[in-house]
């Protein structure tokens, strides 16, 4: 069984490579592995996993990733970079920090590897790590916590403004001999009235089988703003399980964009807490799937304070035998009056074998609120097709254009222009093949 295998791997690792960690971190890791061994892998009888089977993970053995024998060149990873448009760049290969591929400057803003931050500034890491993404009923988060070692640490101090985006790139170069698992752990802290934008990318150079199990915690202080872009371009045979958890203060703004292009099986849990009054959240997601890809997005927007607004837009474009799952949970806590929350999930089925499940879940415990949701699943709108054709556009071009529009609607909301252009190019390439 893979649970025992992973627990065994943990103990081997804890007694060897990880043994010099501070006591609090060791305790955190131990609690992670014991929670994981209690929970085990989720199964489809559990509500949160109704549509997604993780049997491929539970039934095979993944070895803890080791540093790559050779780092890829800067040229090789260029397709995933944003050229000179970035202020800071951290590159991780197989979960290990690669300083030679990274771009670090010290300008009052801390962008460094988590292992470095644990040495330099353990107090602030200890104050925040694992305080937002909770492992209680989430086996993969517990497993990630057990193996907390490396990832990105971003700290933007109060009132600082980072003009150019900060890029975090996680590359898998697993080699052909064994299946590896990586557990990147990221902590992003944007202090009061600061502003930054981040691009977090998962990618591979070859179409290998591996497993990424990542967790990212994003904390945004009062009056601060972050534009957070998360791009999943894993290999088409990879497994990707991830949690992104945000926590935002009074009058703060989070624009959280997420794109899923890769992975044979991917599951992304996005949890957001609007903890102070006057917060704004945009949750903007796209999944573009083909073949037998399966992507599951589980989003939770927790309106814990009054006068906050959240706008959630998720579009899925599904071809071949692919399957998209979207669960959008919105919680409005007692006292979160004047909440304004909108959710839409539109799924475009390009093939009769593609399938989408869309589940809104609204839990409203306050009475003076505005909450709307809508979801669609279906083929291209024949009225729109005729409209385009009646303007002289050929049927196949009209189909491509309408499909492109589904993706472009989401990409168009992203703030980082070079990323938008890069993703736009990928979408166009993919549609040319449709």
């Amino acid at each position: 069984m893979a649970v025992e295998h992973l627990v065994g791997a943990y103990h081997a690792w804890a007694s060897n490579g990880a043994s010099h960690a501070p006591a609090w971190l060791q305790t955190l890791r131990d609690s992670g592995i014991s929670r994981f061994s209690e929970l085990g892998f989720p199964n489809m009888k559990q509500e949160a996993w109704r549509f997604t089977s993780v049997a491929p993970l539970a039934e095979s053995s993944f070895e803890l990733a080791k540093p790559a024998s050779a780092l890829p060149s800067l040229d090789a990873i260029a397709p995933f970079l944003l050229d000179d448009e970035t202020s800071h760049r951290l590159v991780f290969v197989n979960g290990f920090f690669a300083p030679s591929l990274s771009l670090v400057s010290s300008d009052g803003v801390r962008v460094e590897s988590l292992s470095q931050a644990l040495l330099d500034r353990p107090a602030i890491v200890q104050a925040h790590l694992c305080k937002y993404a909770l492992s209680q009923d989430r086996p993969f988060c517990a497993l990630n916590t057990a193996f907390v070692r490396e990832g990105a640490f971003v700290h933007v101090p109060a009132k600082a403004v980072v003009q150019k985006p900060i890029q975090l790139l996680f590359l898998a170069v697993p080699g052909k001999t064994q299946q590896i698992v990586m557990h990147p752990r990221n902590l992003v802290l944007i202090e009061r009235e600061a502003r930054a934008s981040v691009v977090e990318t998962y990618a591979a150079l070859e179409s290998d089988v591996y497993w990424t199990n990542s967790v990212t915690e994003v904390v945004v202080g009062d009056g601060a703003r972050i534009d957070y872009h998360r791009v999943q371009r894993e290999s088409a045979r990879a497994y990707h399980v991830a949690a992104t958890q945000t926590h935002q203060g009074r009058d703060s703004t989070i624009h959280l964009h997420t794109v899923a292009f890769g992975g044979a099986l991917s599951r992304h849990d996005i949890g957001t807490v609007l903890a102070g009054p006057g917060g704004t959240l945009i949750l903007n997601g796209l999944y573009l799937l083909a073949g037998r890809q399966h992507a599951d997005h589980h989003t939770t927007i927790d309106h814990a304070a009054d006068h906050c607004e959240s706008h959630e837009y998720f579009n899925g474009v599904l071809d071949g035998h692919s399957r998209g799952v979207f669960t959008g949970r919105i919680i409005v806590r007692p006292g979160a009056q004047k909440t304004d929350s909108k959710q839409t999930n539109n799924n475009l089925l390009l093939s009769s074998d593609a399938h989408a499940d869309s589940q809104p879940q609204l839990e409203i415990y306050a009475d003076d609120v505005k909450c709307t949701h809508g979801s669609t699943v279906g083929p291209l709108d024949p009225r729109a097709l005729f409209y385009m054709r009646s303007r002289g556009i050929k049927e196949d071009q009209a189909r491509r254009l309408l499909t492109y529009g589904f993706a472009a609607e989401i990409l168009g909301r992203m703030e980082v222009a070079p990323l938008r252009a890069q993703l736009d190019g990928i979408v166009r390439d993919r549609l040319a093949a449709v």
Binding site: F386, R389, G405, A408, E409
Partner: protein, 263 residues
């Protein structure tokens, strides 16, 4: 009939004969005859359910309509044998009664794609975004509108008036030979109606014919047609000059329907 002298001299652009059309098994058009020459403005009026919109849609090639019998020749070619995009490329344009929203595609991008499709057909070079912007600015200026709708997704979140204006803007840019306006006046207040009508009048020329489908006479106060047809129960029961529209406004459609039954 006003203008009949010049009209007779014009070349026949559209010739519909005995057109019978069904949708979902129901026969809607039961034998329509209609001839439109270059530069003429025809109005088709009729009560709800008479088949006005069906005629507009079937001429544009909507796939939901089945032609049971009859012919439609456009510039001498068999219109009914052409795909919707081929009809558009041949210069036929339909301004929709209910313009469709297209997510993620800006009005500007959509219109450039459409114009380039027509330009390719005519063997002209395609326009890049900058060249297109110049063409667009010139067109907007000629009809007195601004570019505020251009960078929004096609028709998405547009008011009723904006949607109808957008149709007319497309007409202006695509420069059709035959423009069919399907109830362009419906849902417009009097100011919006006047704005749209003035733009249409700007776009009238001896090489461009119009077929204006409308339930009410009020649009025809601003756009004076050469010929008015009355469609009732799937047939054209009466044709005449602009005065026919006024007569209909005064007497309503019942008068005509009774007349048909008598005759």
């Amino acid at each position: 009939m006003p203008g009949s002298g010049t009209r007779e001299a014009g070349r026949v652009l559209l010739e519909v004969k005995g057109l019978r059309v069904a949708v979902a098994g129901n026969e809607i058009l039961k034998g329509v005859d209609l001839t439109i020459r270059d530069g003429e403005v025809h109005a088709i009026m009729g009560p709800n359910g008479s088949g006005k919109s069906t005629l507009a849609q079937v001429l544009a090639g909507h796939p939901a309509y089945a032609v049971l019998a009859g012919t439609a020749k456009y510039e001498g070619k068999d219109l009914l044998d052409m795909k919707p995009e081929e009809r558009a490329r041949a210069g036929l344009f339909l301004a929709f009664q209910y313009p469709v929203e297209i997510r993620g595609i800006t009005n500007s991008y959509f219109l450039r794609s459409a114009l380039n499709a027509l330009r390719r057909e005519r063997g002209e070079p395609e326009l890049d975004p900058i060249d297109f912007l110049q063409v667009l600015e010139a067109k907007l200026k000629s009809i007195g509108w601004d570019d505020s709708m251009m960078n929004r997704p096609v028709n998405e979140g547009f008011s009723g008036g904006e949607k109808k204006r957008n149709e007319i803007l497309q007409l202006a840019v695509l420069e059709p030979r035959l423009a069919i306006l399907d109830e362009t006046d419906s849902g417009l207040d009097i100011d919006a109606l006047r704005t749209v009508a003035e733009a249409v009048n700007q776009l009238r020329n001896p090489k461009r014919a119009f077929l204006i489908v409308t339930h009410y006479q009020r649009l025809l106060n601003y756009i004076t047609p050469d010929v008015v047809h009355v469609l009732a129960d799937g047939r054209i029961v009466r044709s005449g000059g602009p005065e026919l529209a006024q007569e209909l406004e005064a007497k309503g459609y019942d008068w005509l329907r009774d007349g048909v039954m008598v005759s």
